[in-house]
Symmetry: C2
Subunit: 368 residues, 2 copies
């Protein structure tokens, strides 16, 4: 007999982009959550052939109206009893607002039952110092984030939201404090922190072969409760890892909250009592499990990618391909080879074979 469902019964509304081929956005998130046993309603914000990392794609974007209409369709048939909402890429400021309105509607429906609905928001705006959305998307997110329970910015998005330039562990802590305070958002994880170019405090920088993830659940006085997880970085760029992180977090955080205490799951936003240490937070427990699964799956993906790229390329017998130059063809081939092998490695989503540990991280310990 194969494994039983991994996580508690969880009904998720996932709102993000759809690509026909490959694994990013909702295509990644839906697969990951389903493979862990979550029931997922998938509201797709774009319908593309493939992810933009290929540098070419075709398809259409959903308008804000189309997004709202799909939700209205579910609502009119009473199909909105979701435990969690995961919102990712939305293709315009109006679409971000439409998604925000959905999250707020679901919150209103459940306000008499604290903890029965939880909103994970991935504020997809840019990466590596560069916005890849229209400028007006930023203020749209800044309005909406106030309502989320957990946000998952990358380092650049955390800078945009906090207004703090992250150049050290202490400015990182500052950024998280600012996000907690400014947006009143109880949980934050900053994914993929790379401080390796830092020279001011070399002893505290993370190594270039280490990926650092920082998270925090607010205390009742609004102060951050910080933990940090260091994991070995893989020497390869994969698309969709943010979506994978978010999807795994949906499943694993709720599991950790259910395991933590009977009262936590009925506490608004699942905020642990002040005496719970940072490393004992469900958010920290979830994050180490998420990162372990990701490490396993990405390692397997890299092996498969290397084998695929090492294999003799088949002669292009395709008219379209014959017209593109060798460099473009190589980029397409490399991008395809790096598609995350999430389905074939589902066993590592369920049971990772590596184990990481959270470290507590007190602001007063930080070098200044």
């Amino acid at each position: 007999m194969s494994a039983d469902p991994v996580v508690p019964e969880t009904r998720v509304l996932a709102i993000a982009s759809h690509v026909a081929y490959g694994y990013v956005g909702n295509k990644m998130a839906t697969a990951v959550m389903q493979l862990l046993g979550c029931d997922v309603a998938a509201l797709n914000t774009v319908h593309f052939s493939n992810h933009t990392g290929y540098r070419q794609f075709k398809g259409t974007r959903a308008t804000a109206d189309e997004i709202t209409t799909i939700y209205e369709g579910m609502r009119q048939s009473n199909l909105t009893d979701f435990d969690v909402m995961l919102s990712g890429y939305a293709p315009s400021a109006a679409a971000v607002e439409a998604v925000g309105a959905i999250g707020m509607d679901l919150q209103r429906k459940t306000e008499k039952n604290p903890g029965s609905f939880f909103w994970v928001l991935d504020p997809v705006m840019g990466d590596q110092g560069r916005l890849y959305v229209n400028d007006d998307v930023v203020p749209a997110y800044k309005k909406v984030i106030h309502h989320a329970d957990l946000i998952l910015p990358n380092q650049f998005e955390a800078e945009v939201l906090s207004g703090v330039k992250i150049t050290s562990l202490s400015t990182l802590a500052e950024a998280i404090s600012a996000i907690h305070k400014t947006y009143n958002v109880p949980h934050v994880i900053i994914t993929s922190v790379q401080l390796s170019d830092l020279t001011t405090n070399p002893s505290t920088t993370t190594s270039p072969t280490t990926l650092t993830v920082i998270g925090s659940t607010t205390r009742s006085d609004g102060s951050p409760r910080l933990f940090r997880v260091d994991v070995p970085a893989l020497d390869c760029y994969f698309s969709g890892t943010g979506d994978m992180f978010a999807a795994l977090t949906v499943a694993r955080l709720r599991e950790a909250v259910f395991a933590a205490s009977p009262t936590l799951r009925t506490t608004r936003s699942w905020v642990s009592p002040d005496d719970v240490k940072a490393t004992d937070l469900p958010l920290a427990q979830s994050t180490v499990k998420v990162l372990a699964s990701m490490h396993n799956v990405l390692e397997k993906t890299m092996e498969a990618r290397n084998a695929e790229l090492a294999a003799t390329p088949t002669a292009p017998d395709d008219d379209a391909l014959a017209q593109v130059d060798a460099q473009k063809r190589l980029h397409l081939r490399q991008t395809k080879a790096a598609e995350v092998r999430v389905v074939r490695n589902a066993r590592f989503l369920r049971e990772p074979t590596v184990e990481f540990h959270p470290q507590e991280w007190k602001e007063e310990d930080l070098p200044r």
Copy 2:
């Protein structure tokens, strides 16, 4: 350690409808195939809030152009190395033609490697004696089916395609023969045959509590090689079971072909040699496994549905719901409760606990 992937590595292009909530069309097919370990590219032909069995839904249909464009997007980046294509609902005659053109393009690319690509076509046109597509969809399918390797009509669709009214086992055999001959399609499965209203040959009718599935792989002279599988029917209507059958068949048929003989998988359309008995066909071996998984999952779904409907309904606190009458509310509730619990019962997709057996079925054995 959880189970390893179940079926051989299989890259599928699945073209069908998407619903945000629930499990029909591509939402069902993609989940089922991924849970069995297939890599699925999902090209969605509609974007609806929920399936039409609710009697209300919102969303948009893809145009034929939009379908073609997504495929062109994949093609230009060389993302079309599919092992199997599964095509289901298309929302217009032009969309059926667009999907047909995709199947033919994939066949052209692989014509030098017989057996390396296989097209499963579900000619979704209607059910229970009634078309639910425009009239012009029928001739569109009649053109396209010539190119498919396996088609999966239900009883009504088999009648439409064959021109034979199915009123007995012998007319059923006639319909399958006609489909093999008219469309030159090597494999046919007629799903959900109900002959219980037959009075002409009561001894040969299937019992109302039995569901009969009939399949055939053609012999080299074009004659059918028929098998039949009887399974206990469940007293509940579920949406999406046709899509579930098709998706499971994609995974299980390829697995059975790979297990059958080293030459079969490089034989055009995976047609077994004439000396292979009907019950030993990969199609028959696959079908019994598919039906076993479906029986397990639907039985579990029915249990969960009954429990859900027996539970005290929560008072509707929703404005929209307050406006609908009690009967409509009941229908919505019953339809929702009958959504197939495919994700929570994934273990039965991987390892069904019941076993069914194919029976050989020679035309000369049939009562006339």
